[in-house]
């Protein structure tokens, strides 16, 4: 039942995406964004794209989030939207 796992994870991905762009705390956005990337990576692993999933796990959920936190550390954490 690949498609069932796929469907469930996809729904989570969309929740994470919406949450990431609507949270008012940018650090929260960073973490949700990491979660989003990690879900995406799971999804790709389910679809058999192991290399892409590996890259996304190390880049999207790893380094990108670190860059994000670094940038938030150097700018402001609060936002109006």
């Amino acid at each position: 039942m690949h498609w069932l796992i796929d469907l469930i994870v996809l729904t989570f991905v969309i929740f994470c995406a919406i949450a990431a762009i609507s949270v008012k705390d940018l650090l929260g956005t960073a973490i949700l964004f990491g979660a989003y990337s990690f879900m995406m990576c799971l999804l790709w692993a389910v679809m058999g794209a192991v290399d892409v999933a590996f890259t996304e796990a190390s880049v999207g959920a790893g380094v990108s989030t670190v860059f994000f936190v670094a940038a938030v550390f150097r700018t402001s954490r609060r936002t109006k939207d």
Partner: protein, 138 residues
């Protein structure tokens, strides 16, 4: 009913990628905070990657690493059926796309830090006001 189910199974991946992409695009156009826009940009790009990976998926096939091929020269002794392995090409393309997107993301973050250094804000409406304050451009 089963028709509907097969249709959903066949297409929902593509529909959801469109939704995801539109979330990203909306954030890029409508959000006020530059960092939020960057998040939107990344969601937009990952949605495209999702689309490509969905193209590559093949039912009843395994990951694109040939089994029993470690044996050196007698590797082609075992017959390889194309139907057993997932299409590797979209994965390759998407590795490249991920790298490009992380490079763009890094540069964009650096720019955001620069903008903040200069104007002390990342909200677009406030930035517009600051730009009016520093007068006409050179």
């Amino acid at each position: 009913m089963t028709d509907l189910l097969t249709l959903i199974v066949a297409k929902y991946n593509y529909w959801l990628y469109v939704i995801l992409m539109m979330i990203g695009l909306y954030a890029m156009i409508a959000k006020n905070n530059l960092i939020k826009k960057l998040v939107g940009m990344n969601i937009f790009q990952t949605a495209i990657i999702l689309f490509y990976v969905s193209i590559g998926y093949k039912r009843d096939a395994t990951i694109p690493i040939i089994q029993n091929a470690h044996g050196g020269n007698d590797a082609h002794a075992a017959v390889i059926h194309a139907a057993d392995y997932i299409n590797p090409l979209p994965h390759v393309l998407m590795l490249t796309a991920i790298v490009v997107s992380v490079a763009t993301f890094g540069v964009a973050m650096a720019l955001a830090v620069r903008v903040y250094q200069r104007y002390q804000t990342l909200e677009e409406d406030e930035l517009r006001m600051r730009l009016v304050d520093i007068g006409p451009e050179k």
